[in-house]
């Protein structure tokens, strides 16, 4: 039953992203709160619902954004894929894993968005998009990564508490 906490948390994250985080910009970029939450959740030990969170977050995100619905969904699924892959390799240093996944997933998500928007019809110079949108967004995502990781760790302990051995 506690797994259903994903619904209010992701809904709140999408609302906060749209209402507040999207207004706090650095150059033309801003942080992606929902992506960071999904990554932080996927990096927690004992969490088995990371893929569910990715699909749910992608669906909610697609409801708000003007991007085609598959773009945010693909971004979140790839983020979980990277997080799950790295978690098994550098499980002793979760913060390094968090930073690495945040960087890679943000980069992938932006490249995907950039490519699709250019295919749809906009002509954006890659240099402008990378320096004015992607790099500032990655920086803001990395700043958000630590507090969100600790919050999600506490949430993971509540959702899937450690069983004491006798």
């Amino acid at each position: 039953m506690r797994h259903l906490v994903a619904f209010p948390i992701l809904a709140l994250a999408v609302i906060l992203q749209s209402a507040i985080v999207s207004r706090i910009s650095l150059l033309s970029g801003y942080a992606d709160l929902v992506l960071i939450i999904v990554i932080a959740w996927a990096l927690q030990e004992r969490v088995e619902t990371a893929w569910h969170w990715a699909v749910l977050a992608g669906s909610m995100y697609a409801f708000v954004t003007g991007l085609p619905w598959a773009i945010p969904l693909a971004g979140f699924l790839v983020a979980v894929l990277i997080a799950r892959g790295l978690q098994k390799r550098i499980w002793q240093a979760p913060l390094i894993a968090m930073f690495t996944v945040t960087f890679l997933a943000s980069l992938f998500s932006h490249l995907l968005s950039y490519t699709v928007i250019n295919i749809i019809g906009a002509s954006m110079p890659f240099g402008d998009a990378f320096s004015l949108v992607t790099l500032p967004s990655i920086l803001l995502n990395l700043l958000l990564a630590i507090p969100i990781f600790w919050l999600m760790r506490d949430l993971a302990q509540w959702v899937a508490p450690v069983e004491e051995e006798d």
Binding site: Y30, V64, S123, D128
Partner: protein, 281 residues
Amino acid sequence: MRDLLSRSLQTTIIFLVVGGILALAFGGYFSTASNWFTGLLVDTQSWFSTRYIAIQDFFAAPRDVASLRQRNAELESEVAALRAQVIELSERASQVDTLAALVDYSRANPESSYVAADVIGRDPSPFLHYIIINRGSNDGILRGMPVVTDQGLVGRVDAVIADAARVQLITDPLSAVNVRLQASDVEAVLNGSVTGNLSLNLIPQDVTIEEGDLVLTSGLGGGYPTDLPIGQVINIRKREADLFQQASVQAVVDFSRLSIVLVITNFRPVNIEPLVPSPVP
């Protein structure tokens, strides 16, 4: 009888002496002595008074501190409440100013009917420039309706649900608006960009345009009403090798501070897709 006379005499003498001393004192003849005496009295009284007040404060002070603290807390909470009220009132005043400007705009343009909406969010993707407003199909909002402020064109409704709608701003990289330059009456296309800058494209080379020219919607294509102000030309790029001139446009609307917008509800965009010739196989 003799005793009675001597007692009366004594009394009279005493009264005279006292009266005389008082008269002399009032006349200022005993000022040195009286000053010394009154000074002694005052000093003594002061000594007792200060000790008494000190003792009184010692016993009464804790009660006063408590009452003062309580009073201070009451005043602090009152100040906090008043500050919150000031913030709320200034926010309302700002909102009233915006609404007044929008009402003036709608009165000046009575041919259109409007629905006012609050901006409640922005697109989560930094590549796109969309806003979310708190009016939807329940309020008569339909896809394609133009959105304006009292200053000029904002964009058009891109998606609608019951109580909200998503508006594509004219600064969006995927936005294209047919416009005309008021001074030269030349038509062009206005495009947004990822940074939110507006550029004017497809301006013929043989046309002279100048910085400061006003850019208005042309109405071509049926996507927007005619003559909605958009901005002013601020920079022109004209190269002989190019087919068309380009120009940068400074928007009249401050898109970073959008809080209330008007949706033009009696405008229906024309779908010209059936008129576009399809390539013959």
